[in-house]
Amino acid sequence: MTTNIGTLLEVRDLNVCFHTPEGIVHAVNGVSFKVLDGETIAVVGESGCGKSVCMMSILGLIPQPPGEITGGKAYYKGKDLLGLSEDELAPFRGKEIALVFQDPMTSLNPVLTLERQVTEAIIKHERLDKNNARKKALTYLEWVGIPDVGRRLSDYPHQFSGGMRQRVMIAMMLALKPSLLIADEPTTALDVTIQAQIIELVKEMKKQFGMSMIWITHDLGVVADLAERIIVMYAGTIVEEAGVDDLYKRTKHPYTLALLAALPRVDHRRDVAKLRSIRGSPPDNLNFPKGCPFAPRCDYVLDQCWTSKPTLEYVADGHLAACWVNVETGKPRL
């Protein structure tokens, strides 16, 4: 055992790259984080920042090749998942760590009925017979709020709306009572009213079942009242990590500051002449700049940012940031 008591998952110095015809894409570069028992963390970042790749590699879901995990450990309940074979990983997937994806249409099998989809995993992991698995499936489908479940068990995924499909995914996952739920942009494809329904459902689920959760998103708004701790990723590295209040109110990294400033508020009158945009575009994963990957877009950039890459360090109690600059003074950190 190398992990502390109460730590469910600990990822250490994870490195993942992809071999492409254009060259090696460094998707995840030295990511370390922990998830405690019963804790909800959010991983926030723009497309291509490595947030999904990071979680997928923990469960061995990165196709290798072209992907390659070039280093790191992922201890789940003290066991390193990265060292396991496909067969050894199987009991962890679904039963211990469940995944809910962004697009519930492509993650449900279009030619299987609702009953087959949901009972398949129950039969496999719990070794129940068909009838009992069906009963269990019904309980959870009802719990997530699928109306008139009994009659709809023989329906196919296309007969359900996006929000309903996402509920089905959650029911499938709940039936196995995993200790960790990884939700990869689960509400991005949904309308705001349906998103609100799903978020309320997930909150209720946490209250009743108490599992840990990693919520991957690009939207700093969605997780503000959902997560306890937030990790911000940029160019395959963690740039800031803090408790939810610290992250929004005492932001330490220029990238997080810029992201927050770029979001207009629905509850505020317009008070700026112009939205603060982040100049340029996210870095090309094939050729990272030598120093800090955010330097070309950063408002606080110093000379040293161009030559050496800052490491993730404590800048306040429980607050990590990877930046040479103290954003409150604009001067270098000592």
Partner: protein, 340 residues
């Protein structure tokens, strides 16, 4: 004729009782049925010259269909749209060309809306050529270079192909193409929905600069209510083919009267833990009903938190409850039930 919403001295765009139905067939031979999808179902409003009207609503509510019908990309089933005094539906030939020049569109998906086999130069110069704004290749090329610089790209980009650009850059090409015909009015159909947060702000700022410098009028179709609050002068909220509420920006966000608007606003995420914890979410039950079998009476009654018995029987009227603030609901004060 009833007075249309909008306190507008000089309306550039007038939409009057616009209806767009689609017919679809279902089933084979003997069970073959014709079904009607009521995508836009009697909508009226105006857009003043130089303003930005936000059009928001959930997916499938008909907001894109409304935008496209307004530009004549779909033939309206009934009603009329006038852009700068010209009737979109009945115009032909020269007059239609004039409307097409004056009204442009920016599409949601910057990947699908640019021809992958055309260079940036061909894409942007097409409207200039078609509308005979500039004759002569040289002068057109010069104009394309100017447009590229206007939207924040480089004149060196003219011979590149769309796939060489990022999503945000492609959206800029789409904007340059829309500007090429020197339009008065642009329908922006979710122009930022597919972009990263850091890029969205760039594109919104660009749209605003262009409006300020060129005096363009926008219909901004979006589902991001925070961005709409930032960008738009007035906002229309659409649900199942009908506008539920329309008012000035701060009026509708601070004093939403329709229960649907209230629910929609309460569901928007706020990037601030304190504010997010404090507010109460009005969670609507269920999904949007089918546009084929519309619920009777008020079409929102199946999900409405304040629905009364008469709401399922009697359709509300589109009425102005105070200057410039229009709603479609019986229950909003002062209550009004038609036929009483």
């Amino acid at each position: 004729m009833i007075e249309l919403p909008g306190s507008l001295s000089a309306p550039l765009v007038k939409v009057d009782r616009l209806v767009k139905y689609f017919t679809i067939t279902q089933g084979f031979f003997f069970q073959r049925k014709m079904l009607v999808v009521r995508a836009v179902d009697d909508v009226s409003f105006q857009i003043a010259s130089g303003e930005t009207l936000g059009l928001v609503g959930e997916s499938g509510c008909g907001k894109s269909t409304l935008g496209r019908t307004m530009l004549g990309l779909y033939r309206a089933t009934a009603g009329s749209v006038k852009i700068d005094g010209k009737e979109v539906g009945s115009s032909k030939g020269k007059e239609m060309m004039e409307i097409r020049r004056e009204a442009a569109m920016i599409f949601q998906d910057p990947f699908a809306s640019l021809n992958p086999r055309w260079t940036v130069n061909s894409i942007i110069s097409e409207p200039i050529r078609v509308h005979k704004i500039l004759n002569g290749k040289k002068s057109r090329e010069k104009r394309v270079a100017e447009l590229l610089e206007l939207v924040g790209l480089s004149r060196r980009d003219v011979n590149r192909f769309p796939h060489e650009f990022s999503g945000g850059q492609r959206q800029r090409i789409g904007i340059a193409r829309a500007l090429a015909s020197q339009p008065l009015f642009i329908v922006c159909d979710e122009p930022i929905a597919s972009l990263d947060v850091s890029i969205q702000a760039q594109v919104v700022n660009l749209l605003e600069e262009l409006q300020r410098d060129l005096g363009i009028t926008y219909l901004f179709i979006a589902h991001d209510l925070s961005m709409v609050r930032h960008l738009c002068t007035r906002v229309a909220v659409m649900y199942m083919g009908l506008i539920m509420e329309l008012a000035e920006r701060d009026e509708i966000y601070e004093n939403p009267r329709h229960p649907y608007t209230q629910a929609l606003l309460s569901a928007v995420p706020i990037p601030d833990p304190d504010a997010a914890r404090k507010r109460t979410r009005i969670v609507l039950k269920g999904d949007v009903p089918s546009l084929i079998n519309l619920p009777g009476g008020c079409r929102f009654h199946t999900r409405c938190p304040i629905a009364q018995e008469h709401c399922s029987l009697i359709e509300p009227v589109w009425r102005e409850i105070k200057a410039g603030h229009w709603v479609y609901c019986h229950e909003v004060e002062p209550k009004f039930l038609p036929g009483e």
